[in-house]
Symmetry: C2
């Protein structure tokens, strides 16, 4: 039996879930609903006997987060394709189909966003199995979510047959419906023939390539060139930038689905959420009888319809007498918002950006190819960082003009190069890197290396770095 | 001319301003309204040509905070008396009077709480000067605040003459009025003859001692014994515990003022607040036209009647669409409360205490006789602290059973003893303290010493310490 290729779209960077979702570390990588991130949960949902290894599409900034998070799930990707620029879903899905066609032209692919919540993974896989025969027969199957409320934030799929929204087999589509106003949304919900458009698709590689060739020939040629010119880079596949840059920013709905004749819609009645705002997160995380959700070290006293998220283990969050509020506390940023204005959190990010606050886009934990670091304290002429280096990883050979560094290993073993000497430094040992010295930090071991770095000097910016060699080919 | 002895009562530990005010570092030491703490502002208000050096009454836990904060103002106390236990104001004021009588039996003393806001310091000193002749004549003068609203949270002073609340000279008192209900408070405000009882008094030492002797003879004997048995301890005066422990917990209002015949009340029409809750702090910190106060890196978007306090420089606080809320964010605790329920913050502290959260009572910055420290990161088998040692101060000679320590000096110069060696360690140098080694850290310099300590070991509690010598006589 053919195995389905999961194609996970992982390049988005939403701001409506700030401060947990930021440009540098967006929503799909955050553990919003449990110990795993939405991306990890998506990869896990689309694994098992019926599925081939997933193909991931992302951008250059997120590539190491993708590999790190996948590694933690134990799921190996068939490839990670890097989009040279964000161009919505039509180019991305086509690139995935062309890439997969090289090795499995008769295969079937399932396209899924990486930032949705679908709690019943087994139920969803059953729906995919239900849709498979139609996909194998050459139809383009889209999954429609049985609506629970008159939602104005989504587009709708209107089925050809009255009451068909409750069917459990693929149904013919009448038309796509744009995001409706409140009255129209109520009517759509009432009708029993409309589903939410969730952007999840199942089709054969041959059928979707044929559709693109016929309905978007210019796009087809350009993406074909981008895939043909793709280059391998440290385990990633970089699509060729030149043909990609000129692409139109267009969704697969507009470019293909709304024009294709061979569409089928499979209603999905299980739980689903796009987690498109903190109000949705509140709803999906199981409010108690008073409508209260507490996450982390949070305490609600006489609160109603309120979400309290304490994201830092050492920071207690207490709500007293609150109604209809969202509180999200992180070590570097706290959001307190009226829940009915959750969609305006985008404006918060814009306001912080205008003020020059790094919290608008940067995450406190800075992910790098070799691991991550975070600043623990920044004082006059000194900074303290926690640095974690993955097993087998190494930082670049580098030097600094304005700062000296002390490293104290607190877990694991470091291989430290300082000018002409190389030494192993183990737990509870320390090493000093004088200002100007060429140095490199590596983790030759099998366990993560954790060290505390104390920087001292007149200027402590990240840009005081001269790189001499870098296994990750950074400048 | 006689100089007035300020007597500043500094032993309270209110919880209604949690998380900024905690048992271990209460409200009077917090910079609530400006760069100085309320205690510092009180000491500064009661300084200048008309005043002698202040006498401070506090408890053992706060004694080093008192000296550190006073030193920063440049005001030297005449003495710091340590109350062996909290016993309200009647015993404290008597102890102060007896102490001052030893050197200035003909003097005048001004009793003031340390945690009130009186923005117009010069205006208040003018009122004190206005009251002085009556105090010298043997009356007990209490300052009454001209009320601005029908407040139910304070007791009232009802004057003998109608409309006398607007007088600028001392007035005869008709009676004390207990905290009223709402209707009664409105009537009191309406009458024009009532003032708020602020607990600020001016009297001659001879007159107040005579009043205690006559009205509270048992209390007088016991406090006299506590003062007679007081012992000097590192610059503090410890009142004798045995007679103090048996004292009744009673205010000077109940014990003396309500019974004394020789009372006069001076109306004070300048600004005053007891800062008895976050609603009062909001009011005193100058809300803008929308009723919004932002403090620190805080941003209010479309908020009304809301206080946003970002107490950690690196933590952005954003409010979106809030109404009538209090938000106070500290590195280890965030409070979000309905402003009209500010008085219930006490209950928050009780709830956290019941959960065993250290944030209920402990402050992130732990003040010690030699300076302070704070934890920057706590991980598995390691902890990072920032330690600041005052010039001339020294930690105890100590050792640890379960942890080793790395010290990196980032500002100032340390004198470090490790077993038999003593060395100076300056900026950008580090030193290692092996597990079990007897060690001592001192700051022999003229500037504060800042160092980063990285602890490693299986157990990192503060109680893993054996002290061999301590200049502060701790166990």
């Amino acid at each position: 039996m053919t195995k389905i290729h999961p194609v996970i779209l992982c390049g988005g960077s939403g701001t409506r879930l700030w401060p947990l979702s930021r440009k540098s570390y967006p929503k799909q990588f955050a553990p919003l609903l449990g110990p795993e991130s939405l991306f990890q949960a998506t990869a896990r949902r689309l694994s098992g006997a019926d599925f081939a290894a997933p193909l991931i599409l992302t951008n250059a900034d997120f590539r190491f987060i993708v590999t790190e998070q996948l590694a933690a799930t134990g799921i190996a990707p068939s490839a990670v394709l890097i989009e040279p620029a964000a161009r919505s879903t039509a180019p991305a899905v086509l690139a995935a189909a062309l890439w997969l066609a090289q090795t499995d032209p008769d295969g079937v692919m399932l396209v899924a966003p990486s930032d949705h919540a679908i709690p019943d993974a087994a139920g969803f896989r059953n729906s995919v199995a239900e849709a498979l025969p139609r996909a194998l027969a050459g139809d383009l199957v889209t999954f429609g979510i049985v609506p629970l409320r008159a939602e104005t934030g989504f587009g709708y799929l209107q089925l050809a047959d009255a009451g068909a929204a409750r069917a459990t087999t693929p149904q013919p589509l009448a038309r796509f419906v744009e995001k409706p106003d409140v009255a129209r949304a109520a009517a759509l919900l009432e009708g029993g023939d409309c589903l939410w458009n969730a952007g999840i698709f199942l089709f054969s590689i041959a059928a979707i390539l044929e559709a693109y060739r016929r309905l978007a020939p210019a796009l087809y040629s350009a993406v074909e060139a981008a895939v043909a010119g793709a280059t391998a880079d440290l385990g990633f596949i970089r699509l060729a930038p030149a043909p990609w840059q000129g692409l139109e920013d267009i969704s697969i709905d507009y470019a293909i689905m709304e024009k294709a004749g061979n569409l089928a819609v499979l209603p999905y009645a299980g739980g689903w959420s796009d987690l498109g705002g903190w109000d949705a997160v509140w709803h999906e995380t199981g409010p108690d009888a008073a409508g209260v959700v507490c996450h982390g070290p949070a305490t609600a006293l006489d609160c109603q319809d309120t979400l309290l998220r304490a994201e830092a283990p050492g920071q207690q969050v207490v709500g007293l007498g609150l109604e209809n509020l969202i509180v999200v506390a992180m070590p570097d940023a706290v959001l307190v918002a009226d829940k009915s204005r959750a969609q305006e959190v985008k404006g918060v990010v814009a306001a912080l950006k205008a003020r020059g606050a790094p919290q608008a886009e940067a995450f406190p934990r800075d992910h790098r190819p070799w691991g991550w670091f975070e600043s623990l304290a920044l004082g006059d002429r000194f900074q303290v960082k926690r640095i974690v280096v993955h097993p087998g990883a190494a930082l670049s050979l580098q030097s600094h003009v304005h700062r000296a560094e002390h490293w104290i290993v607190v877990a694991g073993t470091a291989q430290v190069t300082v000018d002409d000497t190389v030494a192993l430094v183990t737990e509870n040992q320390s090493v000093y890197i004088p200002l100007g010295a060429k140095h490199r930090l590596a983790n030759p071991g099998r366990l993560p290396l954790t060290l505390i770095e104390v920087q001292t000097g007149s200027y402590l910016g990240e840009d005081d770095i001269t790189r001499y060699e870098d296994i990750y080919a950074r400048g």
